[in-house]
Amino acid sequence: MSGLRDLRPVHVVGGGLHRYQPASDTSYVTIALAAVRQAVDDAGITWPDVDSAYVGTCLLGSAPGRVILRHMGGSGLAITHIENASASGSSAFRQACMDVASGFSDVSIALGVDKHAPFNNAQTKTGVVDLATDEIVPFTHFALLANEYMTRHGVTAEQIARVAVKNHRNGALNPYAHRQQARSLDEVMAGPVSGILTRLQCCPVGDGAAAVIVASQEAMDRLGIDRNRAVRVTASAARSERLYGPGEGFDEHLTRETVARALDEAGRRIDEVDIIELHDAFTIEELLYLEAIGLVPPGHAAGALADGAFDIGGTCAVSPSGGLLAMGHPIGPTGVGQVVETVRQLRGEAGPRQHPGARVGLVHMVGVGSVCVAHVLER
């Protein structure tokens, strides 16, 4: 099976963000344009240089793309909307990479934008009723996984909560984060939601936007884009949930399969990865996924976390942006924002959040369905 490695090279040449923020009266057009303009300026190009746009959004409603992008100047670029639940932005980025790699475009933008709104879940409209669909929402699904993880590995609630202590500490260093306040363990442990999960161990939802521009080498030469700041996308993988056995954690299995494909395509081992931005909507997810992708053995993630292995400056910086827990999860932008953070890390432009010597990054999102999308980036 071929992938990006068999097509022409694709590089991220620009990134932009609007702060992820609590639900506000700010128009989605304002939020999105801020991210787009920052990305265009970062790339050192002009808007007419962009051939195509993939707009990742889950909650805005149909067809916001040209409503936004016409204000960059009506260039006539191809616009496609991408909805893949929480992975909408990740899939928009994947499509932009494929567009350039395959030769359909020389320059493409992945834009993620959303404003806080109820999630219209198609799975609840099939006519098939389960026993507790209403009572078991995502935070309880992951609280159940946390219960099992604690029983199986002897890990405590405090050990799991330390994921949030780390990620809130990182978010406090990020001016684009929804939550920018470092938190003590006691603060994180307060405010029970479900099982061991507390308010600060669950991601906030709100408004936000993120944009990434990808380009071919030919475009970089033609447009005079600084190659020293270009980050290559060396893998793109996407999978959906299979059947894994009764009661099995499908998020973990799906993550294992998808990330394995991405690393294989990139020709990288997990221990070669310096930066990981993953789907840490709930603290337990960070531990489960790090074990699933083989960064640490099963049951060892909490101990490695406590040893500082996943800190900025540790063995591998996990969620240096603050992750979904602190950076936030406005849904459409999230996967794109992960790429922005990772590119800044790999360029050495992450400021106080800089992980020293970052060369290889992995970004990962899962979405209701379930679906999973992962990319590897290298400089």
Binding site: T126, G127, V128, V129, D130, L131, A132, D134, E135, I136, V137, F139, T140, A143, L144, L145, A146, N147, E148, T151, P192, V193, S194, G195, I196, L243, P246, G247
Partner: protein, 136 residues
Amino acid sequence: MIPPSSVPIKQLSNGSVELLGLRCGACGTVAFPYQAYGCETCGAHGAALEVAALPASGRLRNWVTVHRHHRPIPAAPFIVGTVILDAGPAIRAVFAEGTDETKLTAGSRIEGAAIPAPEGDALFFRLTPAAGKTAP
């Protein structure tokens, strides 16, 4: 056929409850709940999909107390859990009011019961620890 949008349980004359699952005649998969769209293992559909009455008993895999709920019923806090049925599939359901979470253990035997809703004719399915039964 099971009417759409109804909880897939059947209360027997002796008061016990069966869960209305699915057996695929093409590949043998047993799943819950019943649906007529297609087997999630092999894709068989139509006459290949049979309603399978599954005993509402099994072993507890995980559980939590839910402290926040967006509806008044059930009133939070309440306990939910994952049970691996003796028949094979996993189910997730709410425990009966008054269940003591401190008495729940992984692998313990759990049974299901139907309780009437506060209003109307609907039945709620609730989990309870199986009385006097321990893991072998």
